[in-house]
């Protein structure tokens, strides 16, 4: 590919005013949210699956998982919330792969709109979707005995930490979505990334119950740090450095992944 295709010309900088960039981003974010609710399988994937996870671990596996310091349901629900927001960011990959496959990205590129609105509108819609899922899982959690004692504002802070993390991660999935030939492949490509991050972590069990060889990874990887931060804030337990570490990971991830996704976007279609 020649480098001319990657050039961002001065003309674009001048004419794509900030105002249009915001309005274009919101137009596409609204469209993405609207279509989300029209795909039944997507709603099931987004809403039902995490609820099943809560019930499965609360009632089936929970009895076999020892936890020090609190009940398993209190340990579990913050972890499930983190897992769910990360799974939610996979939607970024699926949505962009679909738009690309259907030729919509090509159409957008020939319109006098802010080009970055395609990625912005997608990732913002996926944050909004994650907010909805957080509310639902919180309600289900309370129904099955989740009793956080960290206070309302710490709960909100915890939600913010994981939403920021999932948002930053979604730029990596944007790259995946723009690279995959279709949405099914995009989804499949995210699994090898998501699986070790969410399961080789402290989401479901404490570190001491993981095999020794796994612990260094499980303890230091960003999802565990985020889960520690979220759990500590929600349950009113000491969080140590985990909040800052999680936020640092977020900043680091977006700094690396967003330019990759943007570069990929300019070459795509």
């Amino acid at each position: 590919m020649t480098d001319t295709a990657l050039k961002f010309t001065s003309d674009e900088a001048q004419h794509t005013s900030l105002r249009w960039a915001v309005s274009d981003t919101l137009t596409l974010a609204r469209r993405n949210l609207l279509t989300l609710f029209r795909i039944p399988t997507a709603v099931v994937f987004a809403m039902i699956q995490p609820v099943m996870f809560v019930l499965l671990f609360r009632y089936v596996f929970g009895g076999a998982i020892p936890i020090k310091g609190t009940s398993y349901v209190n340990y579990l629900v913050p972890g499930i919330l983190v897992q769910t927001t990360i799974f939610g960011s996979v939607n970024t990959a699926i949505g962009l792969a679909e738009d690309l496959q259907r030729g919509l990205i090509e159409r957008f590129k020939a319109l006098p709109m802010a080009r970055m609105a395609v990625l912005g509108g997608r990732t913002i819609a996926d944050v909004a979707r994650n907010v909805m899922v957080l509310i639902i899982i919180t309600a289900v959690g309370f129904a099955v005995g989740f009793r956080p004692h960290g206070g309302f504002f710490n709960y909100l802070a915890a939600c913010l930490v994981m939403l920021v993390f999932a948002y930053c991660l979604s730029w990596g999935f944007a790259f995946v979505g723009l690279t995959a030939p279709n949405s099914e492949t995009a989804q499949a490509m995210t699994f090898p990334l998501i699986f070790p991050l969410t399961f080789a972590s402290v989401i479901f069990v404490q570190l001491i119950h993981l095999p020794g060889w796994m612990r260094p990874f499980a303890n230091n990887q960003p999802v565990s740090q985020t889960a520690d931060a979220v759990r500590g804030l929600m349950l009113g337990q000491p969080v140590g450095n985990s909040v800052w570490v999680s936020l640092l990971w977020s900043v680091g991830l977006v700094a690396v992944l967003a330019p990759l996704a943007v570069r990929r976007f300019r070459r795509a279609a």
Partner: protein
């Protein structure tokens, strides 16, 4: 607007680090207010050209202006003057027809009431008014194409790029779309369309460029291209392939062009139909062969294409398809 809505000069576009030349020194001028045809088989570079002119791809070499604006230096100005309808109906299946058009209106920075009125107007114009509130995924192939074309027209662009607008459509939908395109041109729109259907180019396009493997192999009006072949095609049908090949030898010197034998049918382009037909009949009769059929017809662009490239246009799935692999992996052409 100047005399030419689109001017592309010495356009080269390479892929795979220069190892594949999708466009090789293509120059074309599209007069304002006309339908201009880019004709060629799959992989000839038509889509690459449309993508360059609609600012989706940059040319590797060469200069192109659309509505007077350089596609590399002023892409946003170009985008304000063009509409693009691609080979694959690029509509959001999970939005209604109306929502699709309104979204494009918003992305063209139209005010909300204007975007709404314009969307309703287009649905009406394209026979989709009754389906405006239905999801696009419930639309038939022809309806999707019409919606896609409507989406390209939301901002009333003076220049329209249509990339194989009727590929995969049934004959009736194709006729409908042709009528729509003719209506647009009457209204002053300049249209550049790509097609591999010679009938389509013949019907719609005033001027044509024929592309093969990224190069222009012929240009001119449809009748100029046809006249390069002679005036009439003599079609003879024999009872067997043996007789046909025998017959081909008998009539070969009736025309400077070689006869084209396809099974039991021989086609020969000749200057004077009746004289050639009489001559052919005499020779075949003298050889004791009985003809099954004889026909004289005007040459079609198919004949032109066969003559220029040595292969037919529509079965020319060439080895070197455009490296737009994603396209080929897309779902069914609607």
């Amino acid at each position: 607007m100047s005399q030419f809505a689109v001017e592309a000069t010495n356009i080269v576009r390479t892929f795979h680090d220069g190892s594949f030349r999708a466009l090789d020194d293509v120059t074309l001028r599209v007069p304002t207010g006309e339908v201009f045809g880019l004709l060629g088989p799959n992989g000839s570079g038509k889509t690459t050209m449309v993508r360059i002119l609609s600012t989706i791809l940059f040319p590797t070499e060469g200069v192109a202006t659309v509505a007077g604006y350089d596609v590399v230096k002023n892409p946003n100005q170009v985008r304000r003057h063009i509409g693009l309808a691609g080979q694959f109906a690029a509509v959001d299946e999970n939005l209604t027809g109306f929502e699709n058009l309104r979204m494009v209106g918003f992305l063209n920075h139209m005010a909300k009431p204007h975007a709404v009125t314009r969307s309703r107007e287009l649905l009406e114009e394209f026979g989709l008014a009754d389906f405006g509130n239905k999801l696009a995924k419930t639309y038939s192939g022809g309806m999707r194409r019409r919606l896609d074309l409507a989406a390209a027209l939301v901002a009333n662009p003076p220049i329209l790029f249509l990339d194989e607008p009727t590929t995969g459509l049934d004959p009736q939908s194709r006729q409908d779309l042709w009528a729509i395109i003719e209506g647009l041109v009457e209204g002053g729109t300049t249209v550049l369309l790509t097609t591999q259907y010679l009938e389509e180019a013949d019907r719609l396009c005033k001027q044509l460029v024929v592309l093969d493997h990224g190069k222009i192999i012929a240009e001119g009006t449809s009748s100029q291209l046809k006249s390069r072949l002679g005036n009439t095609v003599l079609v003879l049908t024999f009872g067997s392939t043996d007789q046909a090949s025998l017959g081909a030898g008998l009539i070969a010197n009736l025309s400077p062009k070689a006869p084209n034998v396809d099974g039991t049918v021989i086609e020969l382009t000749v200057d004077s139909g009746p004289a050639a037909a009489a001559d052919a009949l005499r020779r075949i009769d003298a050889a004791g062969i009985v003809l099954v059929g004889l026909q004289l017809r005007e040459p079609s662009l198919d004949d032109v294409f066969l003559n220029l490239t040595g292969h037919k246009a529509e079965d020319a799935t060439t080895a070197e398809a455009e490296p737009t692999s994603r396209r080929s992996r897309r779902g069914a052409k609607v």
